[in-house]
Symmetry: C2
Subunit: 504 residues, 2 copies
């Protein structure tokens, strides 16, 4: 306890230390909570858990706003406990996903750079309690965040009350890594003065009004490790195609061997693609991304990446042990920012990022579905992919050409849900190859996508669709009554393939 208290440098706040159960008891039915946490990193852990406990004896529902996904099974347990009314802007938990799709929780799928703006503008319900994980509290009333910044600074600024969770399992050496910058309201705002990946434009912690702090809770619990799947042959092939594309850009003089700051989405495919750069000729790379995953630290270790800016660090257990055990050697190569800044259109366009995100499916014209299985069931959410794709120098979407043993083609006639329109998608990559769609009209795109990216077992079926569509004419030819035939095939007989019951 004494050692914990040392993490509260402003000793006038010591009297606010309470247990998690007491803090949770302040939260009332109908309230809105703003939780720290982004991709399983830096999430508030103790108070949400105590809330779940409380729900065993009491009925209540709250709105849960976060940075992005939470770890520690918090979304799962809150969902099972039935205490979630509205959840935003992103989640990845299987149980919560099931309940969202059953209509049990309202889920608002937002661009990750937009939530802060909406809180600031007073468009969303007022945050009653910001509950934010911290390493420590400074003498001059700043919260030093842990492994993510997320939306915490906006929640803290605009919430009615603040609860701080000081987590002694998070390394104190994280202090100094953060760069907290909170834009003014729209119309009274200056340019965001960030012009290089490594620029520091803010403070090392989140300033707060001590009057708003209701309680401080101690906790000692590591972040949940990420669940990265190891690269396989197909993701390695995709990495190679992507490297070929970048090599071509260097060859024609549009990029140098330092490329441009790279953003890579969450997940195994993007991670594998980044990993593939270790053995490439590219040098002195920089990362300007949301989540810093294992591959970023592998690239730093390999001397390939000189600086990485993110809004969270989400690592496998093995990499977590290595990185957090040797944080000194990474500290001068890292910065963690609010997600509004890591994902800000102003910065993404200014820096001219190379943006790599995962598609669930895309259509023959390059419209991308990132979120909805068969157009209806939410997978995770759009996350930051739209922030990046719209404004990047090079907006790349990657996916394996098939799923479920070949029963699903990731290339379809018409995306069953559109998160990224043809206007925002520069290049699509599968293990089959890549299609560079820049400057191409829809009819040119269709040819290239079917030829370069579709799996051979679906090429003829896609070509047949496209050829029938051409007989109807139009800028973007379609046969509307058959546009979702791949998806209805799948629903009816378990495969998108025509005239085949099942492949396996």
């Amino acid at each position: 306890m004494k050692k914990n208290l040392e993490r509260i440098k402003n000793s006038s706040l010591h009297s606010l230390v309470v247990g998690a159960n007491e803090a949770a008891s302040w939260i009332q039915d109908g309230m809105t909570l703003g939780l720290s946490g982004f991709t399983r990193a830096g999430d508030a852990k103790a108070v949400p858990m105590a809330l779940v406990e409380r729900a065993k004896d009491e009925f209540f529902k709250v709105n849960i706003f976060t940075g992005a996904s939470l770890g520690s099974d918090i979304d799962k347990l809150m969902s099972e406990a039935g205490i979630v009314n509205k959840r935003l802007p992103f989640q990845v938990d299987a149980t919560m996903r099931k309940n969202i799709n059953a209509g049990e929780h309202l889920f608002v799928d937002q661009h990750l750079s937009h939530t802060s703006e909406m809180v600031r503008a007073g468009v969303l319900p007022t945050v009653d309690f910001a509950i934010v994980e911290a390493i420590s509290i400074t003498e001059d009333n700043m919260i030093i965040p842990t492994t993510s910044v997320g939306n915490s600074s906006t929640f803290i600024k605009h919430a009615n009350h603040i609860i701080i969770e000081i987590n002694s399992a998070q390394p104190e050496l994280l202090e100094g890594l953060h760069d907290v910058y909170e834009p003014e309201v729209q119309g009274h705002r200056l340019p965001i003065p960030l012009t290089k990946v490594q620029d520091r434009i803010g403070t090392i912690g989140i300033p707060f009004d001590p009057e708003k702090v209701r309680g401080i809770v101690f906790v000692n619990q590591q972040d949940s490790p990420s669940l990265i799947v190891a690269p396989d042959q197909e993701t390695e092939d995709m990495a190679q195609h992507l490297i070929s594309l970048l090599r071509e850009e260097v060859k024609v003089g549009r990029l140098t061997e330092n490329l441009a700051p790279i953003q890579a989405g969450i997940g195994s495919v993007a991670n594998a693609v980044l990993h593939g750069m270790i053995d490439s000729e590219f040098e002195d790379l920089t990362i300007y991304s949301e989540v810093l995953q294992d591959s970023v630290f592998e690239l730093i270790d390999a001397g390939k990446v000189t600086f990485a800016s993110g809004c969270s660090i989400t690592l496998s257990q093995e990499t977590m042990d290595r990185v957090f055990g040797n944080l000194e050697q990474y500290r001068d190569k890292l910065v963690l920012r609010p997600q509004e800044i890591s994902n800000h259109p102003e910065i993404i366009r200014r820096l001219g990022l190379i943006s790599i995100n995962t598609a669930l499916e895309f259509d023959i014209y390059g419209n991308v579905n990132s979120t909805h299985v068969s157009g209806t069931k939410m997978m995770n959410g759009i996350g930051g992919s739209g922030d990046f794709a719209r404004n990047a120098r090079l907006s790349i979407f990657v996916t394996k050409s098939t799923a479920k043993g070949g029963n699903i083609s990731s290339i379809v006639p018409f995306a069953a849900h559109v998160d990224h329109t043809e206007h925002d998608v520069d290049v699509v990559v599968t293990e089959q190859g890549y299609a560079d769609l820049r400057g191409l009209a829809p009819r040119e795109r269709a040819e290239l996508i079917i030829n370069n990216c579709a799996h051979p077992m679906y090429k003829e079926q896609l070509r047949n669709y496209y050829e029938e569509a051409l007989t109807r004419g139009g800028q973007t030819p379609h046969v509307l009554e058959k546009a979702f035939s791949f998806h209805t095939n799948l629903a009816e007989h378990g495969s998108m393939l025509e005239k085949v019951e099942s492949l396996v």
Copy 2:
């Protein structure tokens, strides 16, 4: 001629004056032309016309890049002459539209803020000839544009050759209205220093390399007047709904009576909506838009608008006569910028615009189709609507709830083409009412859109669809095999209504 020569202040360029036919003769098959012109304003007129003439005797095709749409029937005549290979980023001509949809020309439908970036990055074919209309050429080698800036500064900077059309029908008093700012390449760029609508950040003309000027052509021809349709009862109702929405924003303290800088898309509906503000209580308004249409000048005349920033001035003949005949009284209230700056995400988000654009149709979840009739046939193009909708403080789409005498419902189960996803659409407005979708989950959105915006004759049909979709579940419930049933009804029996052959 002498009077014309006076408009070329750098007399060393006088020797470059040629006839339009001679200038047109330099253009070869396969070349790419970058033409001035945005929404029928400030288009290069003489050389394109001479090219059309030349096509009577000779076969050739060129790529035509512009700011946006051209006037003077240039797109029509070029299309009829068969000289267009690829056209981007926007057009509105009926003949060219027909030929695009027939697959005669390749049309690339781009966000209007993106074309400059792609030219600068070398992603599009190199512009062989920039052909740009001017009022005059300054002594220190700047082109003073006319009624639009469009992409001209980028074309001029990156083209191999320049042809300047000096149009003596354009008022010389336009000089001083323009503010030309050209960002550096990505990664070597500073923040765009514009923080208020009226800020001037660049030069009054477009600097050029005199070595690249191949010819200067004189022309004396007014811009084509805009074809604004007068407001009708339905557009007036929409204007009133929109004003109610804004009034509500003021009431809850999210806006003041000065609102926020307004962007309004091209066309009669947006024009009518702006016009409706004349009799509102809102004061000291500012405009930060692409096209300054009649309504902007009516609002200036009414003392409602204190400053308007655009990238073109497109007026009806009557308003053109009035405004250009009295330009002195408007000069200090206007600025014309490159479309990259008028539509730049950095600026739109910083200023926090209220953005009003026209939808062709939207679906029950708020996904908007701005471009493709029944998902296939191109109408005009996305224009700047995506630039604005993504980044605005308040992103509003307006459309009448029905078209073609009620045979078409503008609210459908699934948008047959998606230009703006649910993530980017805050409010939808029809003559029936408005639906404020901010912070709502898809199931909440569907209820509100059907109740508030759909035409009574389609409400039951939409509700039936939605209720069947709910039985399937999901974050965004759909019945994929019936998702386009409204559109296939229309194709089959001339009406989206079920069980009705035709209404009229």
